[in-house]
């Protein structure tokens, strides 16, 4: 599955300000000046990624330790989908296909 092999890298943590508010988390991206409102598991994904280049299955594995994402296959698909959305927003970058 090509999508799950694509690697992604988040911007450095100081490129954004993260403010959790009840059900949502606000992410202010300094580079664009855009405020994003995101829900789980997006803030957890960014935190878990740090500056590592990761693919969806690696990230799903890491998140599984602290976060209930349902079954493993579902989790990888969900994370892959979220990573693509984050790449579209510019909060993570597609690095390469492994």
């Amino acid at each position: 599955m090509a999508a799950s092999e694509t690697h992604y890298q988040a911007e450095p943590a100081d490129a954004r300000i993260v403010e959790p508010l009840d059900m949502m988390t606000l992410i202010y991206q300094r580079r664009s000046g855009i405020t994003h409102m995101v829900g789980e598991p997006v803030p957890q994904m960014l935190e878990e990624m740090g500056r590592d280049a990761v693919d969806a299955s690696t990230l799903a594995e890491r998140l599984a330790a602290s976060f209930d994402l349902g079954g493993q296959d579902d989790a990888v698909a969900l994370i892959a989908e979220r990573l693509e959305e984050l790449a579209g927003l510019g909060l993570v970058e597609r690095i390469s296909d492994a």
Binding site: I17, E19, L21, L26, Y28, M37
Partner: protein, 284 residues
């Protein structure tokens, strides 16, 4: 071009007009306000064409910031044109505060902020509270200081619309009112001079303590508003959130995280004031 200068809260305006009548009305209504010797914004009231200065005079608004498609107003509504132009300068040009389209009143150094759509009653409520033990801080813009998080007053003339005009004339018998401007794009409008304490203390801010989203015309109800919903609604109510960048974000998140927020429905001014007092006692 004859001109008039006035300071409202932190903002200094210079209003020039091709006609003297709107300036004379402003000079009278703003007579107790400071006259600044500097200018933040310049506003001009000009004829739409040279002929329109005399023949069915028609006012175009000019100034530092403009809306290209703003419809001209008849000369009889010159005061409204000037007020709209001053609001427009603030909305588009002010950078020293985060601007929220909201009204505010203060008591004991703490501020009640009210925001909502046009017709929600936020302006009328702030005027009513301003005559009942609260200090009126503004009915159009709430100015949040990015450094301190405090609300700075912007007590311009109170713009009363339609049924609020007679309600306030009954409630505030000794207040001063501008001319009745009938048939404006927003119906009948009459400006009211804020109470003397609002003008005398217009350099004095306060800490925001309660945010309300009033809605007029529905049976009395109170609903808690989550911070995320509040944040979203306030970004929509702000005219310069995007322009302020990171300062806008940090100012608004601080406000949302520290100020309790409720939506209130009401059917009369009395009902609203009773609700406000109850919520203030409990939450602020």
């Amino acid at each position: 071009m004859p001109e008039f200068r006035v300071q409202v809260g932190p903002a200094a305006f210079r209003i020039g007009s091709a006609w003297s009548a709107p300036l004379e009305q402003m000079a009278e209504l703003y007579r107790d306000y400071p006259k600044p010797d500097f200018t933040d914004f310049t506003v001009r009231l000009e004829p739409t064409t040279w002929l329109r200065r005399w023949l069915r005079p028609s006012i175009a608004i000019g100034g530092d910031y403009m809306l290209p498609d703003a419809a001209p107003l008849p000369l009889a509504q010159g005061l409204l044109a000037a007020e709209m132009a001053m609001n427009l300068q603030m909305a588009l040009g002010w950078r020293r505060h985060l601007l929220l389209h909201a009204s505010a009143v203060e008591r004991d150094g703490r501020v009640l902020v009210m925001t909502g759509q046009s017709g929600s009653g936020k302006s009328t409520l702030s005027a009513l509270l301003g005559s009942q033990g609260w200090r009126f801080m503004g009915d159009e813009f709430v100015l949040l200081d990015p450094v301190t998080g405090q609300v700075a007053p912007f007590p311009r003339l109170i713009s009363l619309k339609n049924s609020a005009i007679s309600a306030m004339q009954a409630a505030q018998r000794d207040a001063r009112f501008g001319p009745l401007l009938a048939g404006t794009p927003k119906g009948d409008i009459r400006h009211m001079v804020p109470p003397p304490d609002a003008i005398a203390q217009m350099a004095q801010g306060g800490a925001p303590a309660l945010l309300l989203f009033p809605r007029y015309g529905y049976p009395g109800a109170v609903r808690e508003v989550a911070p995320s919903e509040t944040f979203m609604r306030l970004t929509q109510a702000s005219t310069n959130y995007v322009a302020l960048g990171e300062a806008g974000f940090t100012t608004l998140t601080r406000f949302v995280k520290s100020v309790p927020s409720r939506a209130i429905d009401y059917q009369s001014g009395e009902e609203a004031i009773a609700l406000v007092e109850k919520l203030w006692e409990r939450l602020a």
